[in-house]
Subunit: 338 residues, 4 copies
């Protein structure tokens, strides 16, 4: 029985607690939150749970094996660092930290203390994203040409982070997992329309090896909610629309073929291939449930985190570079190590 | 009765001829095309029409008042120049020319010879785009925050121009007309996935005055055809989907309001406004028919071309800068005169 | 503080309990269910709640003011009768009873004992349906021509009732509420494709006064889920699609006008009117919450139930006649009192 | 070279002429129309074509091998009869005739004179409908449970026929072709909302052998245009949406399986099967072109008409019975010979 403490009981915290309450397997025994109203809500929803204003109480509690840090990004580092120093395994909300230096420090701490450090990139644990990885990694799509995502809606404005850190973060995790590719360079353009607020519209481009391009369009001021991702390959193409109740994933057997020996100058060099579309039935499973199970298995040493500190760091590094690029009108920055 | 000659009888030429055959008003009396098969097709479809392989025959024909140049972009300048020098009014296919210098030369020629020079940016003559201009110019949308367009499909690859010149050209004309704004700077990113072919995926960003941003996503390798444009304003927002059989234009009374005096630190500074959606009924009219009528009225001196040489030049200038920026990984270039 | 007992804790029961737990207003103090697993679930989800296998325990409990009967339809009558005889107010799941005689008996009992008898036709308490009633009753739609509903999906097959009792029941309640009209006659056609199972595909028609027709298409064997209702009026028309995340209700300013004096024989007598479409923003509110509040207000004597016993009876009567008609290949039956 | 005459040059006539003008194969040499304006239009669009007010001129012309009758339904019989008596092959617009007696008479005449009699049920020649027939006839869908069609739009009102004859006629042809089944009985319900006009809303049900049911919902007063057909089988299900630009046909591997030996009383007897969806790419071909080619091949004795007189008669017979049923509130009528 693995015992969990949860720091932060806002929007996402209750889902964390619910999913880690697995009879005979794990249990959330304590919740900390600065806001007394949230603590009262936790006590009401989860009778018997211990509540406290001090996160330290969780770190100091020897009965607790692991903590989930479900707070705004600005407190991730301080809390995760303290938890790791106290010998706890850590699951931290995404984005992992505010800076790549902080992320590096957490990775180093976790390594030194032999603790699991996992980032809550929940999307990676959805059946649709896992299916996309299979389709790409098996070669069914052929060479990947582009990843193109539209992720827009009305709000919610964040006080402290721009729209890239709030929305593009999902695409960066999906890209890292599905394509297994590291960017060569990062470029972004963005604008703030509300004085004193961070950028609310942004366009992020990643240059990937082999002429693969990734582009992410995020917007907090759109009239409707859209979540639509295209992955184009030389053999097949995917449209992923996570808002569809069914048929979230459509796979198109379409593309172009090149005509090596055109007989005349006027003859087109490129022919189109229009094949069938296929929407696999993807049984529903709650992603957070899969993720909680995976975190427990990692603590028990049976698995390596899919969304480990290193992945969390790569995502933060891109967000950092993108923000820097955005402040310089799209100036591209090389990705370190690329 | 205004007499017209048409140079080029490929995909679009027959539509030009059909629309300029207005009994008692104008008539296409001659067509030139290098391809004998196209000439035969013209003769069959429009009995009595004169056909020739030589465009010069049209320019030299004193009975012809105006010519429509409906050829690939690489021949626009040479043909339009010759027609203007021969004293003809000119309607030229978009994009106007291959370079801005060529466009400037045509404008200068038309001015000197007092001839009408119009570019066939057909979209400007669609009822939906005209309605968008009214909505923006009347202030109904408030301050414009962004223009965001997705214009993708499978093919058709062009041999000589990249995807920006083929698809983004539509958005540049719409932007120029609807927003009446000139860009401060232009940036683009793009990739070619077919060796020896021009870029087939591209992302174009325009920095406009007042923190307005325009972004255009064009792609020749998409599995499905999408034509979707969002215009976000401080008061209202538009979604324009030209592929919808009806309800092409949806206007959303949505946005954010700022809370100047938050009572507590935790209180959000921004409130959302979720109002009704409204889709005006837009009666169908063939855009090219409206455009043909407008061209005739300009020849008669009763109107000024909406899509005159100056507008054609602005579009070409952006395409030039965008192509340059694309070859330098998105380096932004200032728009001349901005 | 009104005290509630809930009979049945299956799929819908937990929602009933949650919504009637209004601090300072009402509270569910006891739940009965024959299944020990469901009782355990109730005890876990609602700590402190009393659980019992015997519904009678609730009826006999003098602390309980009202009971909610959330069981399969075959037990509605027996349970509701016992509750009313015990002096409880009753909220009963839809359809109200298995027969109209049973419904009449419950109405009579409730009247005699001065108790509130309400049927849980939840749809009536959704903002979209209430807006439809306003649109119809205000005359904005003009004379109502038709109500046409498509309500199909894969399963769930019921053992004891046919697809009309499971799906068409929603349309019958909406029709009764929105149109305020009583049918003149009822006709239905249906088929069973699974030996030994009740009809899984059915088409129900209601003849209403003034040449209004209502038609309901229900199907348990459809590949996709559809919930789409059209209401056609002489002035405007509605499309209601409850599965849309937003824009559930679209109002079309469309129809025909008659030309009284055609000048020629060939001239059409009917002109089409194609106006705008308008989708009012309908703020989300949980219907069951509105309904619970309404039930309490009725108990306190401040309101009359919108979905009272008489309405529940009308719905059951139509379902009875429709089932009878279905077994006679669509033979229409007059609606009593019509 | 087969020579064709066309009677009627209204909405559909020009398409007939265009498709029968196949160089070296067939040619439309004459058109008749009562309206001088239509004759002028024919002469303009098809230079060299002979025009006349008298259909008889076509029948009497020995150069003409076959006539296409493209007039309102009320004149089909008289014109087709005269053409057959004059020894012409006949392609007649759908519905074939106003009465089944007329259809029988035409069949008998064509047989006696050894002439081809074909009805222009164009849908049968679309690639999507032909694919549906293959899917059904190959057994891929399993046993057919139902055919369910929604075919609605705003207008056009017909003066002389009700909405069944105008819209349901398409479904009756598709049903006849795709399912190859003859109805046992016919029932319909319908209403007219415009005084003096035929029924504008109607619901048609066909009882087919083996508990298959067909249902067709047609409406001239709907705010939007819908063309959606479901075919449910025991193994797979089809959704056919002819208005989709691509993915017109979707095939769902979904259904139910019966559990023969439920272990407990509570256990459900029916399990759901949720499999993949598949949308075959269906290359576009103009149906009327395929149909024209087929008519010529039938004249040459190489093929039997798919849409012969017997099929036209079956469709007319159902429309007759449905109209009769509609006037008696849905009273079912047996289909002769069933």
């Amino acid at each position: 029985m693995i015992k969990i403490g949860t720091v932060g009981f806002g929007y996402w915290g209750p889902n964390i607690v619910r999913n880690f309450n697995m009879p005979g397997r794990s249990s959330v025994i304590a919740v900390s939150d600065l806001d007394p109203a949230q603590r009262a809500r936790a006590a009401e929803q989860f009778p018997g749970i211990e509540t406290t204003a001090r996160a330290e109480d969780l770190f100091e509690n020897p009965a607790i094996d692991a903590v989930a840090i479900v707070t705004p990004v600005r407190s991730h580092f301080v809390l995760a660092e303290a938890a790791l120093l106290a010998g706890k395994h850590v699951l931290v909300e995404k984005p992992m930290t505010e800076t790549s230096e902080q992320a590096e420090r957490l990775i180093e701490l976790a390594d030194r203390h032999h603790r699991v450090l996992m980032v809550d990139h929940t999307f990676i644990y959805t059946p649709a994203v896992q299916r996309m990885r299979e389709l790409v990694q098996s070669g069914e799509l052929g060479k990947i040409y582009y990843y193109d995502s539209l992720r827009i809606n009305l709000g919610l404005f964040q006080h402290d982070v721009n729209v890239l850190w709030d929305l593009a973060v999902h695409d960066l995790a999906i890209l890292d997992f599905v394509l297994d590719a590291r960017p060569l360079a990062v470029s972004a353009i963005g604008v703030s329309h509300i004085p004193g607020s961070p950028e609310n519209v942004a366009y992020l481009s990643l240059f990937l090896p082999g002429d693969t391009i990734a582009h992410v369009n995020v917007n907090w001021l759109a009239p409707v909610k859209v979540r639509q991702t295209l992955i184009g390959g030389s053999r097949k193409m995917i449209i992923f629309d996570e808002l569809q109740p069914s048929e979230k994933l459509k796979i198109y057997d379409r593309g172009v073929t090149q005509n090596d020996k055109p007989e005349t100058l006027y003859q087109t060099l490129i022919n189109y291939r229009m094949g069938d579309m296929w929407a696999p039935n993807i049984p529903y499973r709650e992603a957070l449930n899969m993720e909680a199970e995976h975190f427990l298995a990692c603590i028990e040493g049976r698995e390596r985190p899919l969304t480990d500190g290193a992945m969390g760091l790569r995502v933060v590094r891109i967000l950092e570079l993108a923000t820097k690029s955005m402040r310089q009108n799209g100036q591209p920055f090389p990705f370190p190590g690329a």
